[in-house]
Symmetry: C2
Subunit: 190 residues, 2 copies
């Protein structure tokens, strides 16, 4: 590792790590990854993204300038990072127990995606909020990947589905993808 | 209700509503409350607080000026709003089932408070981050109230305990308290 270069403690499959990897890619920030096999899940990584936004506003802004649009971005981000992800992360599913964990994960994701689809219908353009990429998009893609992992039927969420597909064509979302990380095991590689 | 006056959809006992009530009290913003008996829990209310901060920076700032301190404030806020509160909210406890819900709530709060106490030992002054009140303090007090409701032993968390007691002496935390809301039932009134 190089002195002064930021180090991301990352786990290839963690949706929280992935959010930050997308932000770093969009900001064009070179960094080292220190893989850790067990991660403290939760939404704490939004603090990293807000910090990056405040200290590195270029080349891509992750929050719009308009306060109302910023509130929309944060509302969507929080809906995912507080309202969905924590309820289906690994530590919770372990507590729930093997037999019911798939049904539990599907229930919390479906409940959250119902609310999210409704919100997006009034905020979305090409992306989650209008036609500019934002922190909300960084939260969306890893959460949709979790939904797919838990076999959630996405056909009821056409806006979520469309935005996710658009975002996955972008370089920043591809290089940060769980299938392309230094700690990705062979069976998960693209 | 008065035209132009903000309306808060609030539930007396919701820790998420309480966070926003504290922010409104600190900012000196007059508002109407529209009580709703069932609330959509989660951390979404942080988007409201960030919006208030951006549009009403006076009389009290809820985020420090320094980017690193802002990151500390958001890290602590997210630890509570994404890492603890969603795992012990009403809808999750219903899913967990009556028999195990107290043990579940205690386990997730103890796990979160262990991490939080550790963080606060390096960030706290009089309040969660240094000697200025911040969004982190708005998250702390309602979460400690939840911990008390679930009979969590707070003696292992001396920093959390001390800051909570200091904050509860402040007017903004008192007027916003669940025991003093328009929808507080008689048995919960102070």
């Amino acid at each position: 590792m190089q002195a002064g270069k930021p180090v991301l403690y990352s786990y290839f499959r963690s949706s929280c790590s992935w959010r930050v990897r997308i932000a770093l890619a969009l900001k064009g920030i070179d960094y080292d990854i220190l893989p850790i096999s067990l991660i403290k899940d939760g939404g704490q990584q939004l603090a990293i993204i807000e910090y990056l936004e405040e200290t590195r506003p270029t080349p891509v802004r992750l929050l719009p300038q308009d306060p109302k649009k910023r509130a929309h971005v944060r509302m969507i981000s929080d809906l995912i990072a507080s309202g969905i992800q924590p309820l289906q992360n690994l530590s919770v599913l372990k507590k729930v127990g093997q037999e019911t964990q798939l049904a539990w994960a599907q229930a919390v994701i479906n409940s959250g995606f119902g609310a999210l689809e409704h919100v997006l219908q009034s905020t979305a353009g090409k992306y989650c909020v209008g036609n500019e990429i934002s922190m909300a998009d960084l939260c969306l893609v890893p959460q949709v990947a979790n939904a797919e992992r838990f076999k959630v039927d996405l056909s009821s969420y056409p806006t979520i589905n469309r935005i996710n597909k658009t975002l996955l064509t972008m370089e920043a979302f591809q290089v940060s993808h769980p299938s392309r990380q230094p700690d990705t095991p062979p069976e998960f590689q693209a």
